[in-house]
């Protein structure tokens, strides 16, 4: 390679590396703002912002969904299997909303520690499977749970 081309290649390398470092620094500085949501554990640690709305993400706890008698208000727990936040939401829930589903809610904590949500989004995971497979997985899981319960009650 002749010296001019070598120099150009070197300059390009420097440029890309420089921009890469700048981008890395900028993204690190804005790390918190780039988080789409906070987990219940992060809220428990006090990492979530106070005074303005933010998002909480996690799984809807099994057996926690309660519909209020007025019709549209729903209360449920969002968990990351370590900490839990109780959420109250008035409005229409997305199709994928169900117990055990990953969701992201936007809102604010009130004085009594309940997260009052103004928006509920369902988070879809990266797994896809045919309904029969999902059914057989569920059956196998339920069978396993039953067996364990029988073993426990037999003892």
């Amino acid at each position: 390679m002749n010296p001019i081309r070598k120099k150009r290649l070197y300059l390009i390398g420097m440029m890309v590396a420089g921009i890469g470092v700048a981008a890395w620094l900028a993204l690190n500085a804005f790390d918190e703002n780039l988080m789409f949501f906070f987990s219940p554990s992060e809220i428990a640690e006090g990492k979530a912002p106070t005074g303005h709305p933010f998002r909480v993400g996690g799984l809807v706890s099994n057996g926690s969904v309660k519909r209020k008698p007025n019709g549209l208000t729903t209360a449920f727990d969002v968990t990351d299997n370590a900490e839990t936040v109780t959420v109250e939401y008035t409005g229409i829930l997305p199709d994928l909303f169900r117990e055990g589903q990953g969701i992201v809610v936007l809102g604010q904590l009130n004085e009594s520690g309940i997260f009052v949500a103004s928006e509920v989004l369902a988070k879809h995971d990266e797994n896809y499977m045919p309904p029969e497979v999902a059914d057989s997985l569920k059956t196998a899981h339920d069978d396993g749970v039953n067996q364990m319960q029988q073993q426990v009650s037999a003892q």
Partner: protein
């Protein structure tokens, strides 16, 4: 080898092969994706939009990487064909990015409950669309096409830092967008019957890009070399 004239003839011979294999894989992919692959246990039939969305998103990043590599070669070796590759790819890349954003939005409304959210994945992909549009505008704003090619090479290289950001956004930050279902390490997030049409569509879109970029590059070669003897002879031959 890199002479425009030689490229023009070789590209002309390659285009039909790309076009035919694109059509064959497209038909196979669409048929397999719409009729053979089973529905999803949660999303039912609407997950099938991923057979357009995911390959389009792959292409949006793949084409940008091609442009950045061509940008390095253009800046260091000043080869005309790689300069032409960058600008011929830009509008195809922009179209695929737009397609990925639109299909994602159509899927997002019923599944997430929102057409659009400002999470890291969606925002960085939107930035990619603006980079493509910036490259196209910058090229057409500069009269001297050799100078224009150098300018867009630099812009393509500046923007290439966005590619790893798009790819890893779903791992580095909490995003609403799910993480990748298809990885090189081979984590099985979907059964083979769902994966086959996805890969077929991925190949099909690449072949489409191959055909279109060659067509566009040929047109660009003719325009740049319009005052040379070989183009004049070619045109005279066509007229006779």
């Amino acid at each position: 080898m890199g002479s425009p004239r030689y490229f023009y003839h070789v590209a002309g011979k390659m285009i039909p092969w790309f076009a035919i294999s694109f059509l064959l894989t497209l038909i196979a992919g669409v048929y397999y994706g719409l009729f053979v692959a089973p529905p999803d246990y949660q999303q039912g039939e609407s997950y099938r939009i991923m057979y357009i969305h995911v390959p389009a998103a792959w292409m949006s990043m793949f084409i940008y990487i091609v442009m950045a590599v061509a940008g390095v070669i253009s800046l260091v070796w000043r080869i005309k064909i790689t300069e032409i590759t960058i600008i011929s790819s830009a509008s195809v890349g922009a179209s695929f990015t737009f397609l990925a954003l639109v299909t994602g939005s159509l899927w997002g409304k019923p599944m997430w409950g929102a057409w659009w959210v400002w999470d890291a994945r969606l925002t960085s992909e939107l930035l990619l669309l603006f980079l493509y549009l910036g490259i196209i505008s910058l090229y057409s704003a500069i009269e001297d096409k050799r100078v224009a090619a150098r300018a867009i090479s630099i812009l393509a290289l500046v923007g290439v830092v966005n590619i790893p950001i798009i790819h890893y956004s779903v791992e580095w930050w909490n995003t609403l967008h799910q993480t990748s279902s298809v990885t090189i390490t081979g984590k099985q997030a979907m059964p083979t019957s769902m994966l086959i049409p996805l890969l077929l569509m991925g190949i099909s879109f690449k072949l489409y890009y191959g055909a279109v970029v060659l067509m566009r590059a040929r047109a660009e070669v003719l325009e740049r070399d319009r005052n040379t003897r070989w183009v004049r002879e070619l045109v005279e031959g066509e007229i006779k």
